[in-house]
Point group: D2
Chain length 374, copies 4
């Protein structure tokens, strides 16, 4: 029996409570991971604040890295001691969507995940007598997590855990949006609305595949500076600035070949359609409440434009996570610059507070101290 | 000098006036076509009613077929006597968009077309001393038209002109949306919103490439009958019917693999996003006023959906028009059933009146009587 | 314990021997299928004749249809009584190739299959004390077969078993080559070299997705007649005929847009490259011995041509088998015409003899008599 | 009348002769370019040595850069003083292939080019009374060249002519093969056979779009060093080395995801098929005599591999040349390292001699001295 500390959300609007959780036994296909670092993502905050509904109590966190501690029956290609990053999109490999090459829509995943369960429809987590829910089949804001085999992705041992964990959500989502989803053509012009964790990774993803001019757009001056650090040729979007005119000026009046919305606001979606050139491609990465209306000027949807929604950057984690780790180790991908703060698990609420104030790119919690103790 | 009858729009909101027009001479690259049949399309009506602004006076009509009468300098691969269908998307072959395989966005075309000019920026049409404007580089509601070489597409002589002309807009737009733009996969489920000329052609296009279940959606019972005639397995959409539930029932609860909006209304666009399955593809064919807002439930845009706007079905007219004519001649494409009425040019306003009343699929005007005289 | 009749190959070059085989128990993920019909495919013959090496004794047959009799642990989405067609490409869903959308190359499959084992590396079949090998993870020339869950594909109950079984190899391979692998464009010209079971299905697959001119090529007059029956506009290839000239004559001198080699000969491969137009696409479906050399005129490989090898028509069996069955039931796919003879299992060697003489398209063995007894 | 020095090939096997050539007048659509630098390409040598037949006398050279001196009638979007790189694939924009997005196969181009003519079927070049032929619609081994508008591609003025000229053939062909034709996926493994001008550019093209491991293969040690300079992680291929084993060792035994043959030998083509992983993609860039046979082990063509022939890297010169120039100016593309020697036009035969000895990557001739005089 594994008994460990975890940050538990008991009720919407409350702070996370550090408590003890147990895992009684591993089922077939399970992988038990000792979590060494876990990134705080905006989606966690949506659950805390109630805009995204999940069953409680729940352990949040879906951007985790650590070491395999044990495996369940039938798991033969990964072993205790392996370094892994969690994928929040484990998939069955055989459903309607898996056999159409869209594992992100895997039916067991989309059925069980919102119910706070693993892919077999059950929870492994317990606080005393009470079942605790899994979040996005990861729950990494804890000292241990149980994930399905296809959610535990081996990465090179050389990459430190605090940087590795970022690959699991924000980096994959942003880099993948440019590289896998839009498949940005070398030489093309790219505009990115919203230069937070995802947007900055879109920028560096576009750079990685040879984009021409890259334009970062953000109201916040510090984020515009970061956009330049991550490879934007141009960073605009200060309050009062005419962004549409700025993009047109940089693109011979046509608009950008590719536009990525990573701000997650109705204004961002609308702006994105206005600054895409005729025949261009636009990817929605941000999100608002599912029941909220978003509106567009019809003329901005014309001109043979293509719009794609992507939630995980076209991730194929077994292919992409080791590659992204390798890019970091080879100096082609910036991860250090994404980390605003490192905190012990006990201070996780401070991290969410900073996120609410818009002061962070990524906060990483480390559930064990340097000596390997909690 | 060619002197002929044409239906001229002098002012928004007025009926077309039959008047005499002259063409003094052909310029380099021009093709003079004796128009034998010209279809009335909803886009013409938008100009008459003022929702689409064009310079006046203008000769409408962009769905024409006829016989080449003469050619200008440098035109060597088409000759007097050839049967042709007009393409409303002549293109230069060398601009920013042409060299990115998007001739529909050709820059000389998109610059000169809205100004009522041919691709060289001039008009060839004159009514007495006054210049008359070209409409969409075609102007087929007349006994003659001058079009650029790339707008005159040779078709087999066996296809009658009244059916051939339809290929030039509605048929290409609808069939092409299914076959070229969405590239509907054999076996896939297709839903079509709006079963007018374009929607019916989406249906038969989907059939042509082996679609599985095809669902036609229209409020009008007569159009739902036509949808079945053109190949829909199911036709729904009566007032009061729950369309969303109907589509879900036919698709194991998922929504359609491909959805085409061919109704041109804000409600249609919105419905389209709701009935597309996660990971599905959606094509906007209809249109509303460019400055009008259209709105969507954010949740309906999620789920990895792809949205494409298409205005001409991915047309490559030299490849597609002869192929579509051949499909008709081989019994694989219905054209006869699209024609509601045939009228002499002098009665063209009756055709637009019927269109306003929603009573037609296509009216075709024939500018010459059976004896070949006007 | 299941005890049943099977046709067993004990040694290369010998006739199959009808013997009794037992299955002791089903393992996790197994599906036990009562085989009602099994098609004789050329690949079986390659094993009998020794050009394709497999461990012995082995039960051949990889094109089978029947009824689910029982399922192993963990199989929940298929049940006794379901009608199924066997897929000879079960896949793991998670290996290097599966996560690159190439399940045909699945690593557990390509490792265990040539060794005569199921995907877990073991055999379930025993003749007395001796282990018997599985062929292509199917072994349908028998009254029962054990296949992995992803190798048992449910199809509508309305399709008779003798026609259903064909979907499992020849139909999928041929139709899929046109529809999924080459994705033949509507209106395009298609040439098919070799009008046996696979070639005829390429022809009807091309028709299904709206191909323009389809040309069947075979030396045998009866097969050229069949090519016309399956939808070829033109059938050529008699001994002494200039095939290259014939194809060029039908394609304005350019060659075909798509060429499929389904004859499986070095001459066929070479011819295929010669009759593909510049910029055209060519698919190799036939095969010769893996160690045999095939040669081409370099000039015939130039001109921006694309060549693809496909062994199973880009099959996604769960998506494609029910769709193909539905096409047959809707009258869009010919299966009856593919069946040359039906034989009881005991006469299976007669079927292979006829195949050796080139007299058959497909022979189907039926391991149970009309009364359901062997 | 323009009267200038040119290197003329009068007969196969002879050295080029420096002589005087005249251009009497520009026709419609012509662009007269003062050539400042012209690269020596292997294709030139094939003509000199007779393995590629062209009409004589002829001015070779198809990799040229210079300044627009004058333009013919109808040329309005380029002007005297513009810096240009010649494209050896001008195209009509409207033929069978141009409207299928394959301008490299443009029919007027493929008809007139081998006849030594411009796209209108005539020559503009004369030596005394004798017509002189154009080579690949460029003929840049001279002080002036006449090219069609679509063969004169404007580039930034900042790039020096001797580096700019390389973009016109070897750089475009190599970089484009990786970036446009194969569309190498970020993270993928790439092997390049033959590390001359084209192969080195494949290597840097693969790097530009984020390839993972890149392997250069060449028998020559100096070229293997260059491969490393241009970005190969590994360079193998010394005489006696087992290349197949080397590639497999670097790719977990599978073979490379992408393989490019840029050596132009029957052995190279054969090796390429052996080292491509199942499901991988292979591009033939090199060439041998069109009538020569090339052979493959059938087994090496299996495994769902794709083979594409490309001759110009999927070039869209107006999109790609300015982009490549910009990459050079931004330090992302190596051009300086490609230039082995610079020679005055009068010493051009020395350049071809060095090429015959295999001692060069690129020799560039400069037809004007530093003072701008010949
Ligand atoms: Zn996240
Ligand atoms: Zn799944
Ligand atoms: Zn229209
Ligand atoms: Zn254009
Ligand atoms: Zn078979
Ligand atoms: Zn697999
Ligand atoms: Zn060259
Ligand atoms: Zn052309």
């Amino acid at each position: 029996m594994t008994d460990f500390q975890a940050a538990i959300l008991h009720q919407v609007g409350q702070p996370l409570a550090i408590g003890r959780v147990t895992i009684d036994r591993l089922e077939r296909g399970d992988v038990l991971v000792r979590i060494m670092a876990s990134g705080l993502c905006h989606t966690d905050l949506e659950v805390i604040d109630g805009s995204l509904a999940y069953p409680m109590p729940i352990i949040l966190g879906h951007e985790g890295a650590g070491v395999v501690e044990a495996v369940g029956e039938g798991v033969e290609d990964i072993a205790a001691g392996d370094h892994v990053v969690a994928s929040w999109n484990p998939h069955c490999g055989h459903c309607f969507y898996c056999r159409r090459d869209q594992p992100i829509l895997c039916e067991p995943f989309t059925w069980h995940q919102p119910r706070g369960h693993l892919l077999d429809g059950a929870s492994r987590l317990r606080a005393g007598a009470q079942a605790v829910h899994h979040f996005s089949v990861v729950s990494s804001h804890a000292q241990y997590a149980v994930v399905p085999r296809s959610g535990a992705i081996r990465v090179p041992r050389e990459i430190p855990f605090d940087r590795a964990c970022l690959i699991g959500c924000g980096v994959m989502t942003g880099v993948g949006a440019a590289v896998r989803v839009a498949a940005v053509q070398a030489g093309a012009t790219v505009a990115v609305i919203g230069c937070g964790a995802v947007g900055l990774n879109v920028i560096q993803g576009a750079r990685l595949v040879g984009a021409g001019t890259v334009i970062g757009i953000d109201r916040d001056a510090a984020r515009r500076d970061l956009a330049r650090t991550f490879g934007a040729d141009l960073a605009i979007g200060a309050v009062g600035e005419d962004v549409d005119a700025g993009v047109k000026a940089a693109t011979a009046g046509r608009g950008a070949d590719y536009v990525f919305e990573a701000a997650g606001s109705a204004e961002g979606f609308r702006l994105a359609t206005e600054i895409t050139r005729p025949g261009g491609q636009l990817v929605f990465l941000g999100k608002v409440n599912v029941s909220q209306d978003v509106s567009f000027r019809w003329g901005a949807l014309m001109g043979e434009k293509k719009i794609t929604r992507s939630s995980y950057g076209g991730a194929r984690p077994e292919r992409d996570f080791p590659w992204l780790a390798r890019c970091y180790l080879d100096g082609k991908l910036k991860l250090d610059e994404l980390i605003t703060a490192r905190l012990p698990l006990a201070r996780i609420n401070d991290g969410f507070d900073a996120m609410r104030r818009g002061q962070t790119i990524r906060t990483v919690v480390q559930p064990w101290d340097a000596a390997g103790s909690p």
